[in-house]
C-alpha cells in the first residue's frame, strides 16, 4: 500500500510493526513528531509511552525495560543523544538489545534545529566510554526508515546489542511516498538460531536468580567480557554489513555518501552520467559495521573517490581506511545548518576528475 508520509512518522509505524513495547523520550526538535505520534497511539495499544524528565532518565528506562526482555526504544536529536552516552555504554556492557534513534541536528552545543550529519563519529566510534560498538543503520528515504525501524529489534536481539538508527533532521521532516508492500529497503535480517532469552530478568520464583551488570570487579571477569564482546563484534562485521553500490563497475570516480547526502549525490550522479561522465555511487547503509571490504574491492578498479557529507569530514576517514592507498580520496561537505548542493557536488566531481 502506497502512502504519503513524513520520515519521523514512518519511523513510528516501522517500530510499531516491528513489535515495539515501550517508548521513553524527552522532547527535542527536529524529532518531536515521533513522541507526539507515540503519545497518541501506544497507550491505546496497551503499550508503554512515557515522557521522561530528561534524556538521562529516558535511556535508563530503556535499560530497565530491555533487561526484562521487552522491546524498548528511545529517540532524540544530537544534544539529547550526547546526554544518553553513559546509558548506551552501560547497555553495551550489559549486552542489552534496544533501539536508539538519532534524528541529527547541527552542533556543536545546542547548534540549531536544522539537520546535519555531524554525529557520525559519535555514533560509529562509541560516544561513551569503553571498548564498545553498536550497530548503526543509516536510512536514506522514508521507506528505509520504516523498514529499518521494523527490523531493528530483531537485529538487536540477534546479537544482544543496542542498534542505533541515524538520519538527519531534513530526512525526518521530509514527506514522500512509502510503499509498505515493496521489497525495497528491507534489511532481511537472517536468524540462524532461535533468539536466546535465557538471560532475561523476569522473576526467579522457580529458578536460580540471574544477574546482569557491567561492574565486574573479580579479577579476569572484565577482560573475559571484553573478549566476548570482541568476538560478537567480529561476527557482526562478518554478517551484517550492508551497502548499496551503483554504476561502480566502469566508473572513473565514485561518490561515497549516506542518508540525505546520498540522495543529493544520486541526483548529481544521474546528471553527470547523462552528460557522459562515468560516475558511481557507494552508499553505506550500515555505518558500523562499515563496508570496508566492499569499498576496498571497488578501489581495485576505481581510483578516485569523492566523499559527500553534511559535516566537515567524518566518514571520509573510514573511506580512506577502506581504500587503503589504492586510490585518491577527496571530500566535499557543508557543516551543520547547511545542506549539500547538487551543483557543488557536480563542480567538485569535474574539478577532481580533471586533476
Amino acid at each position: 500500500m502506497k502512502k504519503l508520509i513524513q520520515g519521523n512518522i514512518a519511523l513510528c509505524e516501522g517500530a510499531i510493526d516491528g513489535g515495539l513495547e515501550a517508548y521513553y523520550a524527552y522532547p527535542i526538535t527536529p524529532q518531536n513528531e515521533i513522541s507526539a505520534y507515540f503519545a497518541k497511539v501506544l497507550s491505546k495499544q496497551g503499550k508503554v509511552f512515557l515522557q521522561a524528565e530528561s534524556e538521562v532518565a529516558a535511556i535508563n528506562m530503556v535499560l530497565g525495560t530491555a533487561v526484562t526482555g521487552h522491546r524498548a526504544m528511545t529517540t532524540s536529536s544530537s544534544p539529547g543523544i550526547s546526554l544518553m552516552q553513559e546509558g548506551i555504554s552501560y547497555l553495551c556492557g550489559c549486552e542489552l538489545p534496544c533501539v536508539i534513534v538519532n534524528v541529527m541536528r547541527g552542533g556543536p552545543g545546542l547548534g540549531n534545529i536544522s539537520g546535519s550529519q555531524q554525529d557520525y563519529f559519535q555514533s560509529t566510534r562509541g560516544g561513551g566510554h569503553g571498548d564498545y560498538y553498536h550497530i548503526v543503520l543509516a536510512p536514506y528515504d522514508v521507506g528505509e526508515i520504516y523498514e529499518f525501524a521494523k527490523e531493528s529489534f530483531l537485529l538487536a536481539e540477534k546479537y544482544r546489542n543496542p542498534v542505533m538508527i541515524i538520519f538527519d533532521g531534513y530526512l525526518g521532516q521530509t514527506m514522500e511516498v512509502m510503499d509498505k508492500d515493496s521489497q525495497e529497503g528491507r534489511l532481511n535480517v537472517k536468524l540462524e538460531e532461535k533468539i536466546d532469552k535465557s538471560w532475561v530478568l523476569d522473576g526467579c520464583k522457580s529458578r536460580e536468580p540471574r544477574k546482569i551488570r557491567s561492574l565486574l570487579m573479580v579479577e579476569g571477569m572484565l577482560e573475559e567480557l571484553n573478549w566476548k564482546l570482541y568476538e560478537k563484534y567480529r561476527k557482526i562485521k562478518e554478517n551484517e554489513v550492508r551497502v548499496k553500490l551503483e554504476n561502480v563497475e566502469d566508473a572513473d570516480l565514485c561518490l561515497v555518501a549516506y542518508g540525505m547526502s546520498a540522495r543529493v549525490a544520486k541526483s548529481a550522479m544521474i546528471k553527470l552520467n547523462n552528460e557522459g561522465y562515468k560516475i558511481g555511487l557507494i552508499r553505506p547503509i550500515t555505518l558500523w559495521p562499515f563496508p570496508e571490504k566492499e569499498i576496498n574491492k571497488v578501489a581495485d578498479k576505481v581510483k578516485k573517490f569523492l566523499v559527500v557529507e553534511m559535516n566537515l569530514g567524518q566518514m571520509v576517514d573510514d573511506v580512506k581506511i577502506a581504500v587503503c592507498g589504492k586510490g585518491e580520496v577527496s571530500f566535499y561537505g557543508r557543516p551543520g545548518g547547511a545542506l549539500v548542493k547538487e551543483s557543488e557536488i557536480i563542480e567538485n566531481v569535474k574539478k577532481f576528475l580533471s586533476k
Binding site: 502506497k2 504519503l4 526538535t29 536544522s114 531534513y170 521532516q173 521530509t174 514527506m175 514522500e176 511516498v177 540525505m260 540522495r263 543529493v264 544520486k266 541526483s267 544521474i270 545542506l339 548542493k341 547538487e342 551543483s343
Partner: protein, 183 residues
C-alpha cells in the same frame, strides 16, 4: 513533467499546509512528490517555507536549488528568497502583503529575464470571501490557472477527507477566486 516549487511566508499563513495539500494532491494524481518544510521558532509570525518537488519519475534529492515556481506570501520572504534562489519560470506574489523593493525588482529585470511575475491580491481576496486564512488557497488557484499541475477536483477530494463542509466550501471558493481573478 518536473516542477520544483518553493513556498514562503510567515508562520500562520498556511505555508506548510499549502505545501502538504499540493504534494498530497500530486500523489493522488499518481505523480512522485517530496515535501521538505523549514520553519523558525515555533510561533505564529515566525518564518516558514517549504520545498516541493513533483515529477513523473522518481525523485532522489528533495532539496531545491533553483525553483521553477515560487510563491511568496509576505515582504520578508520577498526580500530574502528571490535573490537567494533565482526562480526560473513563475513567481507568484501576494501583493496584499508584499511591498516591492527597487533592488529586488532590478535583480528580477536583469538576472531573471524569463521569469513571469504573477501578482495576486490574495489576502484581500480571502478577506472578501470571509477569512484571511484562506489566502494560501487563493495563491493555489492562481498557480493552477498559470501552470495547470493539479486538478481542482483532486484538491476538493483531499480537503473533503480532512475538514467539515463549511471549511471546505470556503477553501474551494478561495481556490476558484484565485483562479478566476488571475489573468
Amino acid at each position: 513533467m518536473y516542477n520544483e516549487i518553493f513556498v514562503a511566508g510567515s508562520g500562520g499563513q498556511g505555508i506548510l499546509s499549502l505545501g502538504r495539500i499540493i504534494v498530497t494532491a500530486a500523489v493522488q494524481e499518481n505523480k512522485y512528490a517530496t515535501y521538505y518544510p523549514s520553519y523558525g521558532a515555533e510561533i505564529r509570525g515566525g518564518t516558514a517555507n517549504c520545498m516541493l518537488k513533483i515529477s513523473d519519475t522518481k525523485i532522489y534529492s528533495p532539496i531545491i536549488e533553483n525553483p521553477s515556481e515560487m510563491i511568496i506570501m509576505n515582504t520578508p520572504s520577498y526580500l530574502k528568497f528571490i535573490t537567494k534562489y533565482n526562480p526560473q519560470s513563475y513567481l507568484f506574489l501576494n501583493m496584499s502583503l508584499v511591498e516591492k523593493n527597487d533592488v529586488v525588482e532590478e535583480y528580477i529585470l536583469k538576472k531573471l529575464k524569463n521569469l513571469n511575475v504573477v501578482e495576486v491580491f490574495a489576502t484581500e481576496i480571502a478577506d472578501k470571501i470571509g477569512n484571511i486564512l484562506v489566502a494560501n488557497m487563493v495563491m493555489l488557484g492562481a498557480m493552477i490557472k498559470k501552470i495547470g499541475l493539479l486538478k481542482i477536483d483532486t484538491i476538493k477530494n483531499i480537503l473533503g477527507k480532512k475538514y467539515d463542509s463549511k471549511v471546505i466550501s470556503l477553501n474551494i471558493k478561495a481556490i476558484e477566486k484565485g483562479f478566476d481573478e488571475t489573468k
